[in-house]
């Protein structure tokens, strides 16, 4: 697994026939120049770098968890962790009409898709897809939200990752992962929420499966009030 630093040129044999150049690599003339530090990945004509970072940069199509900060006119103003605020129009919710406005207050969180990132304007989000269906998006009620690094989020929802499945053998929970590093968890008791939060945080640097299982077990049996 090769790790590249910014300024390097990629000369991997598997990259010669790639048609899609992805995250972290720029094409300068003939050369593929690296602009972000990361591990090289390739898959069926696509090449990209897996980058470790904590600050989110908006990309169209990403699903993120946003915090409502204010209501202005016909829009809600949201915070998604980027430099600029983001906004969502009242009509972009399932079943919303001019009369039936979504009932969101400051401090609530929603799960939405980024669909417009024109530079120097606020990013625009939407809670419905093209057919005006929610598909899991919308307000998240109850539960607890916390922040982790972006690469850990991507790793959690990777189908080959065992973390969530192992946790599922011990705990009963509901989880939503936003691409901006925010994770929302809901469980029947506060104690379980605390344990799940602990496991997700600690599993960021655990590589072995045995380690993972022992971590989850330890958390499950641990008492929360010290």
């Amino acid at each position: 697994m090769a790790v590249y630093l910014p300024g390097d040129v990629i000369n991997e044999p598997s990259s010669s026939d790639s048609s899609i150049i992805g995250y972290g690599i720029n094409l300068r003339g003939e050369k593929k120049v690296v602009t972000q530090p990361g591990a090289f990945r390739s898959d069926e004509g696509k090449i990209w770098l897996s980058v470790h970072s904590k600050r989110y940069i908006p990309q169209e199509g990403d699903r993120v968890i946003a915090i409502v900060t204010s209501k202005t006119g016909d829009f809600f103003r949201l915070d998604i962790g980027t430099a600029e605020y983001a906004m969502i129009s009242f009509t972009n919710f399932e079943g919303a009409t001019k009369r039936n406005r979504p009932n969101l207050k400051t401090g609530d969180i929603i799960y939405a898709t980024v669909f417009d990132t024109t530079p120097r304007t606020e990013a625009e989000l939407t809670c419905v897809d093209d057919e005006k269906r929610a598909r899991g998006m919308g307000q998240l009620n109850g539960g607890y939200m916390f922040k982790v690094s972006l690469n850990h989020c991507r790793r959690l929802i990777n189908p080959s990752c065992e973390i969530l499945q192992t946790m599922g053998k011990f705990f009963k929970f509901e989880i939503t992962v936003g691409m901006n590093g925010r994770i929302w968890v809901n469980a029947p008791t506060t104690e379980e929420i605390i344990k799940i939060h602990d496991v997700i945080n600690k599993s960021e640097f655990i590589t072995g499966e045995d380690e993972l299982i022992s971590l989850v077990q330890h958390s499950y049996t641990r008492s929360v009030s010290g």
Partner: protein, 434 residues
């Protein structure tokens, strides 16, 4: 930069957990986080870590004039630096209300509680006193900022040693650490601070809250006390009305904490003193991370071998640089003058060394000989520069600077100098024979 706002769901879950005695880092409501204290290799520095909060304190001393109102008391200055490293909402060089509050509280605890003997800091009443400066830098914020800063400052003050002085009739002599051992500050007691969070209008007490917890609580109270069971400071910044029973309870908790932490500080200082008196250079803040962490790395010290500069190439390269040498203020004449001076000095050095050897062990004062050897080396350098180019140099000079009469004058001295050189060397040879 903006910090993301606290969401309703976070607040609700944290409050619910606290009310049933649960915390996100598996502590009890009345349990403190672990404290890690390290002192540095420079005297008077200390880093304190409580959970994720990290603070470094450094102490330094200067001689200054006292104020007219307190002519025989030293001065202690406390400065706090909140950097964006600790919290992205901070700005460089800007204190803000949080920083001002921190400075005022630290002054209250360290200065106004009279834990340092300021009269021992006086050198000459009314004229010279020691001004001790404590710099506190906040490196990472996660609640209990005042506790951590206070602990770091106290440890640094205990660790610090000021230079030794003697009073002469007309001046004051300050000794370096190699001449006379530096003197530690006279500290009467160690005030230790504890932040106690309050919930439910003061009914519930949450000890050592993290930043997220502190944002959800109703308020907090800060108690500073020492191991002699004296309360040094009491401060509350939010509008909560507390009963005497609640305050007594908080003070009791703070007392036990102060005893435990005073023992930790004394331990750390004693161990450092032991290491220093055994002449072992302390590691201080050098990183000692366990190799198990994936985010750390080490590279051993290594030799660097530079590619050799080939001397054969020099003449050509010098040709390229000739223009700058010629065009700037008559370098040849300057060079030739230098040669003359250096020759004489080299001569004197030779004579001295001969005398030295013959008499045996005559002490020659250092500055002279080093000056001479320096100039000798300069002369060698200049020699190198002008050596290979002597012949071609002259020709070029002649052709380039047409019209001005200088080059002619310039060339001649060089020739003469060479003659002098030969004379000198021959004279030296004669001397040696003798």
């Amino acid at each position: 930069m903006r910090v993301p706002p606290l969401t309703t769901c976070e607040k609700e879950v944290i409050l619910e957990a606290l009310k049933s005695g649960k915390r996100f880092d598996f502590r009890g409501l009345e349990e403190f986080r672990g404290v890690k204290l390290v002192v540095g290799s420079e005297i008077g520095t200390a880093i304190c870590t409580i959970g994720n909060t990290k603070v470094i304190a450094a102490v330094s001393a200067q001689i200054a004039e006292p104020s007219s109102m307190r002519p025989h008391k030293g001065v202690i200055i406390i400065d706090v630096d909140l950097s964006p490293m600790a919290n992205v909402s901070n700005e460089h060089d800007r204190l803000g209300s949080k920083g001002m509050e921190l400075i005022r509280l630290l002054e209250l605890i360290i200065r106004d509680s009279r834990c340092i003997d300021v009269e021992s800091l006086c050198i000459r009443a009314g004229k010279e006193i020691w001004k001790v400066r404590v710099d506190v830098r906040i490196l990472d914020e996660d609640g209990s900022l005042l506790d951590c800063a206070c602990l770091a400052a106290i440890t640094a003050l205990q660790h610090f040693k000021r230079p030794n002085v003697t009073l002469e009739p007309h001046h004051t002599l300050i000794y370096s650490e190699y001449e006379k051992a530096p003197v530690p500050l006279n500290i009467y007691h160690m005030p230790i601070c504890t932040t106690i969070g309050l919930l439910d209008k003061g009914q519930m007490v949450v000890i050592d809250p993290t930043e997220k917890e502190a944002a959800c609580l109703d308020g907090s109270i800060v108690v500073a006390c020492n191991k002699r069971r004296e309360v040094c400071a009491l401060h509350q910044s939010t509008n909560l009305v507390l009963s005497t029973k609640q305050i007594e309870r908080c003070v009791k908790l703070a007392m036990s904490r102060a005893e435990a932490l005073t023992a930790v500080v004394s331990d750390v200082i004693k161990q450092d003193q032991r290491e220093r008196s055994a002449f072992k250079r302390p590691d201080g803040f050098s990183i000692t991370t366990p190799s198990l962490i994936l985010t750390s790395g080490t590279a051993a010290a290594r030799q660097i071998n530079a590619p050799r500069i080939q001397h054969g190439r020099e003449p050509e390269e010098k040709m390229l640089y000739q223009p700058s040498v010629i065009v700037n203020e008559n370098p040849l004449s300057v060079g030739s003058v230098k040669q003359e001076e250096v020759d004489e000095d080299a001569l004197i050095a030779e004579q001295l060394s001969i005398i030295q050897n013959s008499v045996g062990g005559v002490a020659v004062s250092d500055p002279q000989s080093s000056g001479v050897s320096k100039r000798k080396k300069e002369k060698e350098m200049v020699d190198d520069l002008l050596d290979g180019i002597c012949d071609s140099e002259e020709e070029e000079v002649k052709t380039e600077i047409l019209g001005s009469s200088e080059p002619m004058e310039v060339v001649l001295p060089v020739v003469e100098q060479q003659k002098d050189e030969e004379d000198v060397t021959s004279w030296r040879k004669k001397k040696k024979k003798v």
